[in-house]
């Protein structure tokens, strides 16, 4: 029994002794000097600045600065004292040789568990013929999101009218973000386009996007920006209440100088249309509505485009009952092609009409009277002569 236990103990001692002899056998003053020329030449974090819970990678490049001697590395790992930066991939547990003047890469996957702040993970590399190489790095966790700002929007939204908004996406972070995608959404909102790919946005920069929206009902407009921080997708949302109202800048055609004439039952209404708004009124048209019956030659009068403070004259012709009030419809198109209409009432009550004039057809009556008179007179004379 004692013989059986003795054999493994002897074997273990021999193994450990062999390993100790082997290890210590290469540690020489020259190898220590050579190890001193091994250094971390590059450290790259991706992303460069983490959000909390972001995952990423860190790449260490180790360079052998010796020109005539290689070094053997046994083990490489990364650690952070308080585990704010946590290693999620394994360590390097194998030996490899870094030739003279060569560089070897060590990549680790990490996850940012800490809060906002600066952390110092330490990279350690075991050298076979010397002590370990320790290298402390710096990495930041910053939860500052992108900022979405509505730079310009209409004074008021109107149902069914397309309006253009100016949206700015800014990056206040210390690192670049990628794959930006702006999305417009909301109940009853039609957006052109509804999604816009922006791409990369470098640190401390911004981009401005024009978006045309057409609301069908009062609602809340959501502007969401999706972006990638390394391999991690984040989003930021801005809401804008859509409340219908009157656009203070919109064109405002006003009808004035109304004059009404009646010619044989056909009313001629003339007047001026002046654009009292701040935008151009395109394709301004004037016509009459029921109970008026539009008639030629001016069933509808096209005034055309009216710039702010411009005016144009119009004339419409129609039939209507004398004494009634006639609605005159004025319509125009805004820059987006939306048709806006308004009506003005014109009263025809006290208007003298030419049909009320007593224009007797004098000439035909005189002609008829003469003909009848000649006929009657002729017969009277004829009868008198015939009687004699």
């Amino acid at each position: 029994m004692k013989k059986i236990l003795f054999i493994p103990i002897i074997a273990l001692c021999l193994f450990l002794g062999t390993m100790t002899i082997a290890a210590s056998a290469y540690v020489t003053p020259e190898s220590i000097v050579a190890a001193g020329r091994v250094y971390v030449s590059s450290v790259t974090y991706d992303p460069t600045v983490f959000f909390t819970d972001d995952v990423g990678t860190v790449i260490f490049e180790v360079t052998n600065g010796n020109t005539d001697q290689g070094v053997v590395v046994n083990h490489a790992t990364l650690s952070e004292t308080n585990h704010n930066i946590r290693l999620t991939s394994g360590t390097y547990d194998y030996s490899s040789n870094i030739g003279p003047g060569k560089t070897q890469t060590f990549t680790f996957s990490v996850k940012a568990d800490g809060r906002d702040g600066t952390y110092y993970p330490t990279f350690s590399l075991s050298l076979r013929d010397a002590d370990n190489l320790w290298y402390k790095t710096m990495v930041q966790i910053d939860n500052t999101p992108l900022v979405v700002t509505i730079l310009d929007k209409p004074d008021a939204f109107t149902q069914g009218r397309k309006k253009t908004m100016n949206v700015q996406v800014a990056n206040p972070r210390k690192n670049d973000v990628y794959s930006l995608l702006l999305e417009i959404s909301g109940t009853g909102i039609t957006s052109t386009p509804s999604k816009i790919f922006i791409g990369e946005l470098v640190a401390n920069a911004n981009k401005t996007i024009n978006v045309a929206i057409t609301p069908d009902q009062p609602t809340t407009l959501e502007i969401t920006v999706y972006y990638a921080n390394g391999d991690n997708i984040h989003k930021v949302t801005t809401e804008l209440p859509i409340v219908f109202g009157t656009d203070k800048k919109q064109a405002n055609p006003v009808v004035s100088n109304i004059q009404v004439k009646s010619d044989n039952g056909i009313y001629h209404v003339t007047g001026d249309v002046t654009n009292a708004g701040l935008e151009t009124a395109n394709a301004v048209m004037v016509t009459t509505l029921s109970p008026a019956v539009p008639q030629d030659p001016y069933r509808t009068y096209v005034v055309g485009a009216l710039k702010p403070d411009d005016f144009g004259s119009f004339e419409v012709t129609f039939f209507a009952q004398n004494g009634s009030s006639i609605p005159i419809q004025l319509s125009y198109k805004d820059a987006d092609g939306n048709i806006i209409t308004s009506t003005y009432d014109v009263t025809l009550s006290s208007l003298p009409t030419s049909s009320q004039k007593s224009d007797l057809p004098i000439l035909p009556i005189v002609v008829v009277v003469i003909i009848v008179g000649v006929f009657a007179g002729g017969w009277v004379i004829y009868l008198r002569r015939n009687k004699k």
């Binding site: 009952q321 000439l363 002609v367 017969w379």
Partner: protein, 222 residues
């Protein structure tokens, strides 16, 4: 002695004097009335076409029916007018103890209608010239709900400058040729009813003057 149609215009007294010696016949007078009726139908076709265009917006497709019914109505009303006019002057001549049949009176009235064929043809030529210049207002389906609008629209059509001139020329030409017919009817009635020329002139002159006043009043109303 046989008299031609030219004598009807130049020597109506002799024409009708000769006519009453023959057997009463409504054949030729009916043909004259038919010709006048056709001419009246053509004129009605031209003028009612304007009204049909006015209401085309209310009842699409009704224009043809309206035009045809009016033209046919004009044709038949000429025959009705023939009978009525003969009846009126026959009744008036009865006051002067006139003799002769109603058929004879209808015969001379029919012959006397001949000038009016030319009168209607002249108005047709005038209508051909003026009608294209008439601006026809159009009624919509909504306007039918308001009788006032219909009235105003019709008035507007009648007061169109071209329409006014057409109406006045038609009235003057109609009266002129109607008086020419009256001239024949006086001579015709004298022989048909065996009354004096003065009595015949009164029998024909009274309704003629009444008709002329009616035409004049229509011109002033329009």
């Amino acid at each position: 002695m046989k008299h031609s149609f030219s004598d009807l215009f130049l020597k109506p007294d002799l024409f009708f004097q000769d006519l009453v010696t023959k057997k009463e016949s409504l054949g030729r007078p009916a043909l004259i009335i038919l010709a006048a009726g056709i001419a009246a139908a053509v004129y009605a076709y031209l003028v009612v076409g304007l009204t049909a265009r006015m209401i085309a917006g209310i009842m699409p497709g009704m224009e043809t029916i309206i035009i045809l019914s009016t033209a046919i109505g004009a044709l038949f009303s000429t025959f009705v007018f023939w009978i009525l006019w003969a009846g009126v002057i026959f009744a008036l001549s009865w006051v002067f103890k006139g003799k002769g049949s109603f058929k004879r009176t209808m015969e001379i009235v029919g012959y006397g209608y001949l000038p009016q064929i030319f009168g209607i043809l002249i108005t047709c030529i005038v209508a051909f010239f003026y009608i294209p210049h008439v601006h026809v207002p159009e009624l919509t389906a909504a306007a039918v709900q308001d009788p006032q609008v219909i009235q105003e629209t019709t008035k507007a059509l009648m007061h169109d400058p071209a329409m006014l001139v057409l109406t006045q020329i038609t009235a003057v030409v109609s009266i002129a040729f109607f008086l020419l017919s009256a001239n024949m009817w006086i001579f015709g009635l004298k022989h048909a009813r065996t009354i004096s020329l003065r009595d015949a002139a009164i029998c024909v002159g009274v309704p003629v003057v009444g008709y002329s006043i009616y035409i004049l009043s229509m011109m002033t109303v329009i």
